[in-house]
């Protein structure tokens, strides 16, 4: 009912958008983390428990992936500090978009009409949500 267009924001636009931008950053870091973990996992040989633990701990891409995941969680928490949960949580679906695009580039996954349609619709959905913020 009460759209942003008919009801001028009291605070500067950037302040209202900050939580959305933080989640945006969170999804980019999360996607990068997933790509690094996939890359690291591809080079992981099957071995016994102890060997696997050592192999995981010394696997630089895998460990970098975990660190990026941690950072992305921090960004999500910073966003939730001031933003609405019901608005910000679905924005995480943008991760699907980045992972799909990055997989095309790094793992030469095949693009297909379904994936392209899917990520396009997700982006539209997120932009609809991004406008729904009232704080």
């Amino acid at each position: 009912m009460n759209t942003a267009a008919s009801n001028p924001a009291r605070e500067p636009d950037t302040a209202a958008r900050r939580p959305v931008l933080l989640v945006f950053g969170c999804t980019i870091l999360g996607a990068a983390a997933q790509i690094l973990m996939k890359w690291g996992a591809n080079h992981l040989a099957h071995a016994g428990l102890i060997d696997t633990v050592i192999a995981v701990a010394t696997n630089l891409p895998l460990m970098s992936g975990y660190v990026l995941y941690g950072l992305s969680t921090v960004l999500l928490v910073l966003a939730l500090k001031d933003g609405e949960l019901s608005l910000l949580y679905p924005v995480i679906a943008l991760t699907y978009v980045w992972v799909t695009v990055l997989s095309l580039v790094f793992f030469h996954d095949k693009a297909n009409p379904f994936k392209l349609a899917g990520i396009t619709i997700i982006v539209i959905g997120v932009s609809v949500l991004g406008r729904g913020g009232k704080k």
């Binding site: 928490v77 966003a79 608005l87 949580y89 994936k115 349609a117 959905g125």
Partner: protein, 117 residues
Amino acid sequence: MSGTPVISMLLILVASILGSFGAVLLKLGAVELHKGFWHILNVKLGAGVGLFLTSSCFFVAGIRHGELSVLYPMVSLGYIWTLFWARLIFKEGFTRQKFMGLALILLGVFFVGLGSK
């Protein structure tokens, strides 16, 4: 739908519910940051992250068998549960943008699942 075992769907359903509880705890913990950044080390956030990790275990077990076009959107059901928890617990309103945005995201995730084999 026929190619997806019920057990996989149940695992993903559990993952989506645990994930939505995780999100609620993350929000509960996040507001404590108003007291200062280092309040980021608090029990609620810890529990939220723990729930996310548990949820991801169910997710990994769930997507081993079955069709991703069915299972991927089911993960996104977590967004719908979260919409309800957020209204109940944090009094966040239902808005048309939230419903429309969410519906589009679910549709998009369905298509991504359809295109992923």
